[in-house]
Amino acid sequence: MNKKIAITQKKTPFSIFLHKFKQRKTAMIAGIFIVLLVLIAVFAPLVAPHDPFKVDYGSSMMPPSFEHPAGTDLYGRDILSRIIYGSRISLAVGFTSVFVGALAGVTLGIISGFFGGFLDGLIMRTSDVLFAFPGILLAIAIVAILGPGLVNVVVAVSLFSMPTFARIVRGSTLALKESLYVRAATSLGASKKRLMFVHILPGTLSSVIIYFTMRIGTSIITAASLSFLGLGAQPPTPEWGAMLAESRDYIGVADHMTIFPGAAIFLTVLFFNLFGDGLRAALDPKTK
């Protein structure tokens, strides 16, 4: 009896997942980095060595030193502190926009897959239209219409994350709809709502989670690009892309002003992607 319990415990989906995930070293490192980053963002005021907004014209463009480990920017502000505060913005924008996009996309995807017919056609053709635009171009167009600002960047990024989620979920829904257990539930008289959200939705979640994680990296880079173009965060907000834009004229004169924010973007996006890769390896039943 005892032995039997032990065996079932070993085989819970989560333990299988954890076991597989632990095998991927890079994904583990990425995970640790992301946890650290989140902690830094949450406790920014405690971690940052200086006030990220305090200008000091006297120490403009100072190279890295003990006082300012990443140097100072054009107005003498501490770059490290600005990057630390900037992590709040990047993470918030990345997470919120993907979350909103996923919420809307998943709902649409289930509806589309479950009901089929005209609704399916409408949702999928609209997605096709959105797919036809390169992501960043669509985001630029949306921000150009709504006006610059971080909130509008979130709207833009959510909007172009939506169709992919819709499509992924629609695919799984189509498959699950025909599966035996759903048919069983139908014959037991489950309502459509119950079928969709209790029986089908959980089955689609693993692929949603993978894409969600990968997408955060893309969203962070899109938000930074929009800020770089002056369409996102407005000064003096310490947004990474905006910091790059401010200092790109000084490449070759004060390189540290671009290297550090650039590295912050690069590492964050890289680690989110590695983490997503790890998740895929662990969650996808096709990769054993």
């Binding site: 200008v55 014209y57 403009s60 002056g230 000064p235 003096p236 070759g252 004169v253």
Partner: protein, 506 residues
Amino acid sequence: MKRVILTLLALTLLAAPGYAGTKDIIYASESTAKSLDPHDTSDTYSGAIERAICQGLMGFDKDMNIIPLLAESYTFNDAATEFIFKLRQGIKFHDGTLFNANAVKVNIDRMMTGKYKRSSLMKPVESCQVIDDYTVRFSLKEPFGAFVNAIAHPGSLILSPKSLETYGDEVSKHPVGTGPYIFDEWVSGDHVRIKKNPDYWKGKVNVDSITFRPVPESGSRLAMLRAGQAHYIFPMPAEMIKVAENDPKLDIIKQPSIIERYLIMNTRYKPFADVRVRQAVNYALDKDSIIKIAWGGAAAEADSIIPSNLQFYKKQAAWPLDIEKAKALMKEAGYEKGFEVVFLTPNASNRLRATEMAQQQLAKIGITGKIESMDVASFYNKLEGQKKDDANPIPFIGFGGWSASTGDADWGTRPLISTDAFPPAMSNFGFFSDKKVDDFITAGLASASPDARKKAYADLQDYVWKQAPWGYLFVDTLMAAKVKNLKGIYPMPDGAFLVEDAELTD
């Protein structure tokens, strides 16, 4: 093998004399030529290229002093309503047509049709009459003391009447003038090439051709110059001045401009309607730091409402940085706690930097707000779209700049601070309106006598400086860079350039 060597030798012999003999200059610039029809050009860059091909009755030297070119001399009446120009004789256009009074009339009449971008220069003109072959008279509708400046402006260059007949408005692609260079080729969106005029009336031209090549990205422009792919670049990016200074092959040219930069405040409405608030802004601005950091040092603090290179400029006492005094003025005006504004700026990086610094500095006296940056066209659309009587005006501070391209005090003040210049008519974007200012400006145009005009503009500058319609910032210093063996290309204070004396030594 022998054959190869012979071929090489032959090639060298063929190529060598050609190489040593031609002197071709490449001028790399931020801008792209938009038209080569002087009467229908509104940008400084195209105007400067036209000036190498065509000439006007009067022109500017490199310091923006007015000099006679196709005219020998001129006279005017006391009321400044009649100007008579004596023309130079024996000058031919590039197509062989003789330059005479009739050629002048054809050009002026063309401008007076009102169809062209520079028609406004001839707006005061009632008629242009040919008195004899080498004398023309301009009769004006009303006194316009700055008329000679309008004649010297690159918009008033004289084209060959024959070319106007042949090409019509297509002359913008085939400009024919009397200048030191003949138009050679214009690849639209790319380069313009002009070549030496062998029969130039002033004498020998020293280079064979000049190619004007647009290179919008400032880093590549400097890289081209350093690699020897360009001989002259403008503007030299101020951020990279250290790189250029360390290169022994290069020279940096600095020239005070006539481009004044200032913060526009909407003075028609509270809180900027109160002169004390505007003065507080001027006391709170750290001009020195803005010049150093935002503008890379390529500017000088403004010391009058017009730049020092304009005619009739009078120096004023600078506004010192004095936060305490600024706070006291804000308190007096009833804004001890400050107020919110919107900072508007074009999104060019240096303008954005300057606005950001103004935002940092004005926060110290309680003036706070967000920055809205946009492309230049949207920025001016926004300013021009303001209404004179707005029920809900938004207090804004906008980053303004003005190049008075006629070189005269009139064009540096009237379009910016007179009551008649409210947008959309002209560029008084802060709706500044003051009876005294309007009177001084009218007085400045009522006569062509330099003494009377000087007096009017001196009074104007003394008075308006303290009225602080703007947050005064600085006057740009133009920076160009060139290879050491190039001589004789001069940047002009309005951002144009003179290439007539260009010379390339070995």
